[in-house]
């Protein structure tokens, strides 16, 4: 990731935009933070490295003016989806594309170093060297990347105004994309039920997954919080928690671009993206549709074909 070129591109873009959304240093050397700047003098405060794991495209829907935003390949799919649904206007966004070979999950690093205070985090070749009070630890990037990076098919943004590095070709096999979903599909019905009861049972209903989701655009009208209709109660039971996650997953059916923000934001480490990815896998199989790849497409559940080739009528015995 080329920070120098990104800064040049942002300096060039700043006079024509109201705000720039990029990454800045966070509260410790391991964390990056979304950073909004309006002044060219602050461009030097920005950073760009594999710690920049957030999907900044989610902020676009709340911006009024013209916005420049730094997008990785996965984030660009979110932009495509937002454009497709008419939630942002193409003329109002200036996209700084960043080719990327994978980011670092701060959560996984913290788990690997036993949640100690991080004194420094430096990249060396294919690994991240983290220094804590108890010494240095070298972590291979492949081990601490978010799951989505392991099967990344879009290392280069699909849409951009400026690309700040040489484009990269996908180097992961396309079959690997839904491997984790296939593993769970192969389990028995009881095992799957137990799996989700255990996982969603940990949910504390903080709604961070929803708030972080760049495509959860109902904002204050989320049905998880309405009283009429009363979709969910305040009860802290597994089925209520499950219901919330199913609302999230089904509202994203055919729209989720698999950016993994829900999992990144989840304080309980629930594999939330898996629910959405299962739906994506089925929709790809049924309609050959991959969300966030073409701004001209229509979400598959908002359209139809009179003769569906892949849907057969279900018969009762």
């Amino acid at each position: 990731m080329n920070a120098k070129k990104m800064k040049e591109a942002l300096r060039e873009a700043l006079p024509s935009v109201d705000v720039v959304i990029a990454y800045g240093p966070g509260f410790d050397p391991l964390h990056a933070e979304p950073c909004f700047i309006k002044d060219a003098g602050r461009v030097d405060d920005l950073i760009l490295n594999p710690l920049c794991e957030h999907n900044l495209a989610g902020y676009l829907t709340s911006q009024k003016g013209r916005t420049a935003v730094v997008v990785k390949g996965c984030d660009s799919r979110t932009v495509v989806q937002l454009l497709q649904e008419g939630l942002v206007e193409r003329e109002k966004v200036h996209l700084i594309g960043v080719p990327c070979r994978g980011v670092v999950s701060a959560k996984k690093v913290m788990a690997a170093i036993g949640h100690e205070k991080v004194l420094s985090a430096v990249f060396e070749a294919d690994s991240l060297v983290v220094t804590t009070g108890s010494g240095e630890k070298r972590l291979p990037l492949m081990e601490v990347c978010p799951d989505k990076c392991r099967s990344c098919q879009y290392p280069t943004p699909l849409i951009y105004d400026v690309l700040v590095d040489e484009p990269l070709a996908a180097d992961k096999p396309p079959e690997s994309v839904y491997e984790d979903v296939e593993v769970l599909e192969a389990a028995s019905l009881e095992e799957r039920k137990a799996y989700w009861e255990k996982e969603t049972g940990r949910c504390i209903r903080c709604y961070a997954c929803r708030n972080a989701c760049p495509l959860c655009v109902c904002q204050d009208s989320c049905i998880a919080e309405t009283r009429d209709p009363h979709w969910m109660s305040q009860k802290s039971t597994v089925s209520e928690k499950m219901m919330f996650h199913l609302i999230h997953a089904l509202h994203l059916a055919g729209r989720c671009t698999e950016c993994g923000e829900c999992e990144r934001a989840c304080p309980m480490g629930i594999p939330l993206a898996k629910l959405k990815r299962k739906i994506n896998k089925d929709l790809k199989d049924l309609f050959g549709y991959v969300p966030g790849t073409s701004p001209e497409d229509r979400p598959p559940l908002s359209t139809f074909r009179v003769d569906e080739e892949r849907i057969e009528e279900h018969k009762l015995p």
Partner: protein, 144 residues
């Protein structure tokens, strides 16, 4: 009286106003014998059926959910059931992933004149749900 099992189970049916609800009515007018486990909710069109209706029903105590609309190309609103078909097919494939037996959910197309077909469908579906038994609820002890 249910004629397929001893204990009555809870089955929720979402029927479109124009075809399937009429079909159920035709079956009633024709005095066809039907199991009584089904509770019918009339909706304007099968396109009104949000997949979340089905999920909510299954998580809130229903043992099975049946959705029925007009035959494809016969929708009163011309294309509501085409949207429904895509959404319900997606749901049918998704339910087993979260540990709900896909046989607990069925969607079909029945017209207002098909009273016989309605009776066969509701009987076969009720039998299927009785074979599966009541849906075990999530273990509430797991919750905080």
């Amino acid at each position: 009286m249910p004629d397929v099992g001893e204990r009555e189970l809870r089955i929720v049916g979402f029927l479109c106003n124009w075809c399937s609800y009429g079909g159920a009515d035709t079956a009633g007018v024709g005095r066809f014998k039907q199991p009584t486990d089904l509770r019918i909710i009339r909706v304007p069109c099968s396109g009104r059926v949000d997949p979340l209706f089905v999920v909510k029903a299954l998580l809130s105590g229903a043992d099975g959910v049946l959705v029925s609309g007009c035959h494809p190309r016969d929708c009163h609103y011309s294309d509501g059931n085409f949207y429904a078909r895509r959404r319900l097919e997606m749901l049918k494939r998704f339910l087993p992933f979260i540990g709900l037996d896909e046989r607990r959910f069925h969607y079909t197309w029945i017209s207002a004149s098909e009273g016989q077909r309605w009776q066969q469908t509701v009987t076969a579906f009720t039998r299927q749900i009785h074979e599966l038994g009541p849906l075990a609820r999530a273990e509430e002890a797991l919750s905080l």
